[in-house]
Every structure is written in C-alpha cells, then in structure tokens.
Chain length 158, copies 2
C-alpha cells in the first residue's frame, strides 16, 4: 500500500516501537512500565496510532490509548492528533512537525462522567535513527501542568 | 485472559463482526460500505473497540474509529465510551446498557482545526444471537440531528 503523499512527512514514525518509560505526578508514587507504540497507514491521509503499557513488576496491562494523526497546512507543518485513552478521556492535540521532532499541546481534553479530571496534555517526541523518545506533561486533578511521563523506545519492525 | 467482572455485562459484544451498512445525510449522496467491528479486552475493566469501513465499489478504505467502552454504576447500567475518528474528531458518549441493547448520546464531540464540524452523535445498537445492528444519528455542518448510518454485522469470530 502506497503511503498517501500528504502524510509522507510522518513516514519516520511508521512501524512498531518497543521500550520502557517512567511516570510521576505530584499526587502519585513514581512508576515504571514497558511500552509498545504502533503507527500504521491504510493509504489515506492519516496515520493510525496505538499505544499500550505494562507493569514492569508483574507484566499486567496498565494504560492504553489509540487514535489518528494528520497534517494540516504547509511547513512548518501543523500536526493534528485525536486520541481516546483507556482511562475514559479523549484528547485533541495540535502542534508542529519538524524533521524528527513533534511538539503538541491539547486543544480539548474531555472525560466521561466517571473519569479523572485532566485539563491539558503536552507531548514532545524526538525520533533519531531508530530511537523514539517522548515526554508528556499533564494538568490533572486541579493542578497546573506538570511532567508526567517519559520513555525511550526502539523500532522493532517497519 | 479472564474478563474483568465489571465488564461482564458487555461480554455479548466481544469478538469480530463483519457486514455492510449504508449512509445518508441531507448534504451528501447516499453511500454503502463493507464494515468490520472488533471488541476486545485485556483483563482490565474496559473493552477496546475498533471499526473500519470500505467502499463497496472499489474496496478502498473509508471511515475508521477506535476507542474504549466502560461501565459506570449499577443497573440500568450506565455505559461510557470514548472514541477517536479518522476524520479528526473525538467523541465522548454516555448511555444505558440493557440486555443486548445499547443507547448512547454524545456529551462531547470535538474536532481538530481542519475537521468538519460535528456537534452531536447518537448511537443505537441491538445484538440478538450473532447479529449486530446499529443506527447512528449525527448533527453536523450546522444541521440538527439527522439519521446518518445504519448497518448489520454478523459475528465472524469470538
């Protein structure tokens, strides 16, 4: 399947990535996890994204999220993502794509009636060679934005 | 993997479903599609959902959406879903689960800057034996809610 030309600048993300990450927040105990991230395409002008994490202690599933990425407009290319989180949240984030680098800030985070309150999410991704590093900031539970997650993944398949 | 007891009332959805559907809206030409829907679980108290459609004319991919379902509270059981759509939308919908029947209304629909404007989505699902029927209403492009999609799928694997 040919990659749609509109998402050619996102080709460096395609494939399956695996590695480990750590999490922290003022209200919780720091934690660590195994993580898998997949970016796929079906020939249309978006990529599909899916992310899963597991406990390093007992390999039980932890967080997962899933959604789509698309580009809007010329360089510096504006990137749009829409995500659903297994914790009962949806996220719309927008930002800038530079070669091997993505910066995103949420324009809408909304939860179900019983989900924890998250008001903003910021994501930074850097990909160099076959290494994918990210950092995620979050404003949750009435607190201002605070560092929450970071991880480093290796490409395990195209 | 044991199904989490909290989502046991959703067990009738689990598996892969395949069939066809039709779409219409005051602003577009009616259309038809092939559709696949999958509900999975990983032992945690939610189901993962993914949906894809293809043109009946040339088998090219059309819409896709992905997200999670969870239950909140006792019977009549309150259902919450969070979804990302490949068209650049996120959806939070809530409603009621009855045996073999789901009714959902959106509490939040939000798009990226370049997505078409959708303001509300309503979903009705009925599952009897191994047949999954759904109807979807949508308010989009400044119009009030209007019937948009219906489909009938058969269970093709557990």
């Amino acid at each position: 399947m040919e990659l749609h030309p509109e998402v050619e600048p996102l080709a460096f993300l395609l494939g399956r990535w695996s590695g480990e990450g750590t999490g922290e927040y003022p209200t919780i105990k720091p934690f660590a996890f195994r993580e898998e991230v997949t970016f796929e395409h079906n020939g249309k002008p978006f990529l599909s994204y899916s992310q899963k994490t597991w406990s390093l202690i007992d390999d039980s599933p932890m967080h997962s999220e899933t959604g789509y990425l698309r580009l809007a407009g010329p360089a510096p290319r504006r990137l749009e993502i829409v995500l659903a989180h297994s914790t009962g949240l949806v996220e719309v984030s927008e930002g800038i794509l530079e070669p091997g680098k993505i910066e995103l800030i949420s324009t809408n985070v909304h939860g179900t009636s019983t989900a924890k309150t998250v008001t903003a999410i910021g994501r930074s991704i850097v990909v160099a060679e076959d290494v994918f590093k990210y950092r995620l900031r979050m404003a949750a539970g009435g607190l201002p934005a605070h560092h929450h997650l970071s991880g480093e993944l290796q490409r395990v398949s195209d």
